[in-house]
């Protein structure tokens, strides 16, 4: 019997075919990004991401500069990023994007095509996660940059001084970093939830509740939330308002690198568990 030319199973284990996985992953990412960003079904994410941009564009067009000041608008931008993007837009956007990657394929009855192809399931899962992350990052980061530009540029020379010689550029970088971590964090959680539950939305709503009430929880429980890490990274702090302000538990400030590392470790742990579940994933289209 002639010997096969391909590597044996043992050789594959000793020397994993990274090159092959890279090519497979890249192609999967390309397919998913195209589906996430360039299909008519993706229109709602654009609306979600760019609605504040539209409002700011209207505001910039109205030339209401006389009634504005840079400090006031800096707080407005902080509120937009913290209260709109992080709590609503990125949360629901990532819920839509990342739940669709696995659960959406099951509903459309097309996941088995991927599972039957000679691609490792971990490669498939990670490629889908990367594709979802690229889509979310492209949309929300560009929206934040556009918001930043529309808010400050009407101030003219004063804005350039604030951005280049003041804290403006650092704040923009911090907002982009926070948004990126939020996309990755929420994305990994929703990808996992969509693999565990047939309908991940109730679990996501419980998660939203957990994220919302997180500031009033004891400091140890606050560490089990994405919002708590992101709060420490915000360049402009927003004081809690209303009833929650009375119950908020102030934790000691965490260094930026600690918060980033903590969140990245959380994402890594979630992804490792998702890969583990992906190995044993079974599809029963009749129950979907």
């Amino acid at each position: 019997m002639p010997r096969q030319n391909g590597p044996t199973l043992r050789e594959r284990r000793v020397h994993p075919p990274w090159g092959l996985w890279w090519i497979q992953g890249r192609r999967l990412v390309r397919i998913e990004v195209r589906r996430n960003l360039f299909s008519w079904k993706a229109g709602w994410i654009y609306v979600l991401a760019f609605t504040p941009t539209l409002i700011l564009a209207i505001h910039a067009g109205m030339d209401a500069r006389s009634a504005r000041d840079i400090e006031g608008d800096t707080e407005v931008l902080a509120r937009i990023v913290q209260l709109f993007y992080l709590r609503l837009a990125i949360f629901f956007g990532c819920l839509g994007i990342f739940s669709r990657l696995i659960r959406g394929e099951m509903i459309e009855r097309s996941l088995h095509f991927f599972l039957l192809s000679p691609v490792r399931r971990e490669v498939l899962l990670l490629a889908k996660f990367v594709a979802g992350s690229i889509s979310a990052l492209l949309l929300f980061e560009s929206a934040i940059v556009a918001d930043f530009a529309l808010l400050y540029l009407p101030f003219g020379g004063m804005a350039w001084t604030y951005i280049l010689n003041g804290p403006g550029l650092g704040q923009l970088a911090a907002y982009l970093g926070v948004a990126a971590l939020a996309c990755l964090g929420y994305g990994s959680v929703f990808l996992l939830l969509s693999m565990i539950f047939r309908n991940p939305t109730p679990a996501a709503m419980v998660f939203l509740l957990w994220e919302t009430i997180n500031p009033v929880l004891p400091s140890l429980l606050q560490k089990l939330s994405i919002a708590s890490y992101l709060r420490h990274l915000m360049p402009v702090a927003i004081a809690p308002e209303g009833f929650f302000a009375l119950l908020t538990v102030e934790t000691e400030p965490t260094a930026a690198w600690t918060a980033t590392l903590g969140l990245l470790l959380l994402i890594l742990a979630v992804l490792v568990y998702a890969c583990f579940r992906m190995r044993t994933l079974e599809i029963r289209y009749t129950t979907e």
């Binding site: 979600l48 609605t51 504040p52 409002i55 700011l56 209207i58 505001h59 109205m62 209401a64 009634a67 407005v76 509120r79 937009i80 209260l83 709109f84 709590r87 609503l88 837009a89 629901f92 819920l95 839509g96 739940s99 659960r103 509903i107 047939r198 309908n199 991940p200 939305t201 109730p202 996501a204 709503m205 939203l208």
Partner: protein, 289 residues
């Protein structure tokens, strides 16, 4: 039956009256909605604030209980319009969770499985179909909103020493009207969005997003354009203001909007929902090639 065999005779038995045909759909809708364990769990969860409020009313009206708990002051807290406002708010937001779970179960299966043409081939109109589904959702939400709120009111009236209920009938009216307005809006919104997206998994999230994302957009409008009219996109704020005025409770929301503008916005939302339902609930089958 072959067409050449002329033995066909129309049904000659008793027909369900036209006015009650929607109730058949309501019955089946309720059976479908309540067949899920999550519905039962959500329903149970909806009664937790009621139990807490019930205990609060008992505590306020029972001197012995107050003494046992070591309360020094004669009143731990008062049962007034503000107490019932908080109760209505808690029940109403829990009703949103219940609606986002139940509404998609009522309508998405019919649409996703192309069952609507078969259903509408029966002697029911599109309006009857929608009315049946609406009643199923409205009834489910009523059980967790105005019914427990009015029961709490009745219990307070029963256990208070004076003629409390007759002096505070306005609160009962406000509770009923506020809850009915809210669950009507929720029912229409839930059915419209479920028929729009057709997938149950997506519809549950979209109903939540439809309430909270415009609220965020409204906050952005208010902050950027320095106007109070942005709150007209904020359903939680609008409803809180409306309930507050219906119950004549002291202000707990910082926003201020005219009642007419709030009602007009709610009416507009309901009209849009009806428009969506009119467009989506049609006896047609979509075949993807």
């Amino acid at each position: 039956m072959p067409v050449y065999r002329h033995i066909y005779r129309p049904y000659s038995g008793r027909l369900t009256p036209a006015w009650s045909r929607s109730l058949v759909l309501t019955r089946y809708g309720l059976a479908e909605a309540w067949s899920s364990k999550i519905t039962i769990a959500l329903f149970t969860l909806c009664f937790l604030p009621v139990i807490v409020s019930l205990f609060g009313i008992y505590l306020v009206n029972n001197p012995l209980a107050r003494v046992l708990l070591g309360a020094q002051r004669p009143q731990v807290f008062t049962i007034d319009a503000e107490f019932f406002l908080h109760d209505l708010q808690a029940q109403s937001w829990l009703a949103l969770a219940l609606a986002s779970w139940v509404a998609p179960r009522l309508i998405t299966f019919d649409l996703a499985d192309n069952a609507l043409p078969i259903l509408l081939s029966h002697p029911i109109s599109r309006f009857t179909y929608l009315l049946g589904k609406f009643l199923a959702l409205f009834a489910s939400l009523s059980v967790v909103t105005w019914i427990p709120c009015l029961l709490l009111f009745a219990y307070q009236g029963y256990s208070s020493p004076g003629a409390w209920a007759s002096a505070h009938l306005g609160i009962a009216g406000g509770l009923f009207l506020g809850a009915v307005l809210w669950i009507t809006l929720l029912s229409l919104l839930g059915l419209a969005l479920s028929s729009w997206v057709k997938l149950r998994v997506v519809a549950t999230g979209v109903i939540f997003a439809a309430v909270f994302v415009p609220a965020g957009v409204g906050a952005v409008v208010s902050a950027v354009l320095r106007t109070r009219w942005g709150f007209l996109l904020n359903v939680p704020v609008m409803m809180t203001l409306l309930w507050q005025r219906l119950l004549d409770a002291p202000g707990i929301s910082g926003a201020d909007l005219p009642t007419g503008a709030i009602l007009l916005t709610l009416l507009l939302v309901c009209c849009v929902c009806l428009g969506v339902l009119n467009a989506r609930i049609r006896a047609r089958e979509v075949v993807h090639g």
